[in-house]
């Protein structure tokens, strides 16, 4: 991801980045992050639903 794209996406997420920060994030993204994330994008997950592990406990308030 190039620095200008980094800046654009970060701003969209509410995290404005100065030029030097966008440059650093871009370099890290390309070297360390992008190769593994590309494998996520190409994984055929089929119709699998997401794994959200949050468990809802029974309410202590049983009402009247």
């Amino acid at each position: 991801m190039k620095p200008d794209a980094v800046q654009q996406m970060a701003a969209h997420a509410g995290v404005p980045l100065e030029d030097d920060r966008a440059e650093t994030v871009s370099e890290t993204w390309l070297a360390f992050i992008a190769p593994d994330l590309a494998l996520v994008d190409t994984d055929d997950v089929g119709s699998e639903p997401p794994a959200m592990t949050f468990t809802v406990l029974p309410s202590k308030n049983l009402g009247v």
């Binding site: 991801m1 980094v6 996406m9 970060a10 997420a13 509410g14 995290v15 980045l17 920060r21 650093t24 994030v25 890290t28 993204w29 070297a31 360390f32 992050i33 593994d36 994330l37 590309a38 494998l39 996520v40 994008d41 190409t42 994984d43 997950v45 089929g46 699998e48 639903p49 997401p50 794994a51 959200m52 592990t53 949050f54 468990t55 809802v56 406990l57």
Partner: protein
């Protein structure tokens, strides 16, 4: 050997030592070693001594608070403690301690433990090296020029050098097991939902686990028995199945137990010396009567990517306010990753969670015919401080990936995973062996890990331990340790 929880339980009960004596010797060990190892961020000297006196008085009156009565325990500096500031490895934003203990800290205290200090860590638990820009780097006691691992590096190093009896760590991608492996100690990541994370600074809610880091498997079982169980303050914790008798599982005969050795992924890109140590441990299990077979775990190619996606997004969410309000307070590596997390779209995050769901099923199917699977705990022994890239044969990769590809899959699927020592490299660096069980089968994992350790050459390990501590202590300005070799901490 160095002091253990189980050993101190007996000695304290027999009256051959006191809590005050144990605390004083531990403080002396910290003084003798921490200048070089830098395992601690905070040491609660006065509070620990005061509580030790009180607990000795209780014992003298014939009462016992619990299984950890009068035993000092250290905790990573992301566990809230009402008597010590929590920095989470970052630049401290407050000089006041948190209002309440983390649930696991409260459970340690209820069991009689003395929280003697807070250990150093990678900034906000976001890294594997414990090179920390605010509190200094933690050094591996086996070679001070090398990393202790991370992110619970201070916990690992302190237990290894005997400046902690035992410690708690947290594990989001291997942060208990990696430092345990690199420091030659025992580290357990329990099943997701077995131990509360309430009052523990989050890195990634869907991946965070809390676990013990100890000198022995028996001690890990004792600590797990104290901290495990449901907590209404952490809705991810579960009540069923019930907490097992972990201590009883240690020493159990493993003859007939089915051990799976993955033929793919976990044995690829492993340093040859580490591989030799792991294969030796597998032979040990076979010799003890375990039934060893090969298993294949398909579809692991995107595991690190799924883990990294979840980690990036959730860590950035956890850090949203700090990132906007005081980004200059981050160290350079963590700031960059926290900023990078803002670039991951929600659709990719959900795709990672969908892959995760499939991986849970994949591991369940692959482990259907075995009780545990075993792997290296780390692909390499401790690397040099400052290294960001690892070379293993013809493989060159980022250091975080070297550790993540072996340990992080079990954070993704939530299975219990234990790292135990399994020999040394020719350079004298510890090798770690990983045992992974079915959900909530920590007892089985502990019994297998104990069998591996118990079969090792204890006299060699103890001799190496003595040399290591003596070498580090002899470099200290005020080597109290040198004057107390016969104390409770090193025998």
């Amino acid at each position: 050997m160095q002091a253990t929880i189980a050993g101190l339980q007996q000695e304290l009960a027999a009256g051959s030592t006191s809590s005050v004596q144990v605390v004083d010797e531990l403080l002396a060990r910290i003084d003798a070693t921490d200048e070089h190892v830098n395992a601690y961020v905070t040491v609660n000297r006065d509070g620990a001594r005061e509580l030790a006196h009180a607990l000795d008085d209780v014992r003298a009156a014939g009462a016992s608070v619990g299984p950890l009565h009068g035993i000092p325990i250290s905790v990573k500096d992301l566990f809230d403690t009402e008597d010590m500031v929590t920095s989470s490895g970052g630049r401290p934003s407050s000089s006041s301690p948190p209002a309440a203990d983390a649930t696991v800290v409260a459970r340690l205290r209820e069991a009689g433990a003395i929280i003697i200090g807070k250990t150093n860590m990678h900034e906000f638990a976001y890294g594997y090296t414990t090179e920390n820009p605010h509190h200094g780097d933690t050094h591996n006691p086996w070679d001070l020029g090398r990393i202790a691992g991370g992110s619970s590096g201070g916990s690992g190093a302190s237990v290894a050098v005997g400046s902690a009896i035992a410690a708690l760590g947290s594990d989001t991608g291997g942060s208990v097991r990696v430092p345990a492996s690199l420091c030659g100690i025992v580290g357990l990541k329990p099943t997701y939902g077995r131990v509360s994370r309430n009052g523990v600074f989050p890195l990634a809610w869907n991946l965070d686990h809390v676990g013990p880091m100890t000198r022995t498997v028996e001690d890990a079982a004792i600590l797990l028995s104290v901290i495990a169980g449901p907590d209404t303050a952490d809705p991810t914790t579960v009540n069923a199945p019930p907490v097992a008798d972990y201590v009883a599982a240690v020493g159990r005969d493993i003859a007939g137990l089915r051990v799976g050795v993955p033929t793919n992924h976990f044995f690829e890109g492993i340093d040859p010396e580490v591989l030799a140590g792991v294969e030796s441990a597998i032979e040990t299990l076979r010799g003890l009567g375990a039934i060893v077979s090969e298993v294949t775990i398909p579809g692991l190619e995107s595991t690190v990517g799924a883990w990294l996606t979840i980690l990036l997004v959730e860590a950035t969410s956890a850090h949203e306010d700090m990132l906007r309000e005081r980004p200059e307070d981050y160290g350079p590596d963590v700031r960059t990753f926290v900023e990078a997390g803002a670039l991951v779209p929600a659709t990719r995050y959900l795709r990672a969670q969908r892959i995760r769901r499939r991986l849970v099923d994949t591991f369940a199917a692959a482990m259907d015919g075995v009780d545990v699977i075993v792997t290296p705990a780390t692909a390499v022994a401790a690397t040099l401080l400052g290294e960001a890239v690892v070379n293993i044969g013809e493989l060159t990769e980022p250091l975080f990936r070297t550790f993540a590809r072996i340990s992080a899959p079990f954070d993704v699927v939530g299975l219990p995973a234990l790292s135990v020592p399994s020999g040394f490299t020719a350079a004298g660096l510890p090798i770690g062996f990983q045992v992974v069980g079915h959900p909530f089968h920590e007892a089985t994992v502990l019994s297998v890990g104990h069998a591996v350790v118990a079969a090792g050459d204890q006299s060699d390990i103890e001799a190496r331990d003595r040399r290591k501590v003596a070498e580090i202590s002899s470099h200290g300005k005020d080597s109290h340790f040198a004057g107390t070799p016969g104390g409770a901490l090193l025998k």
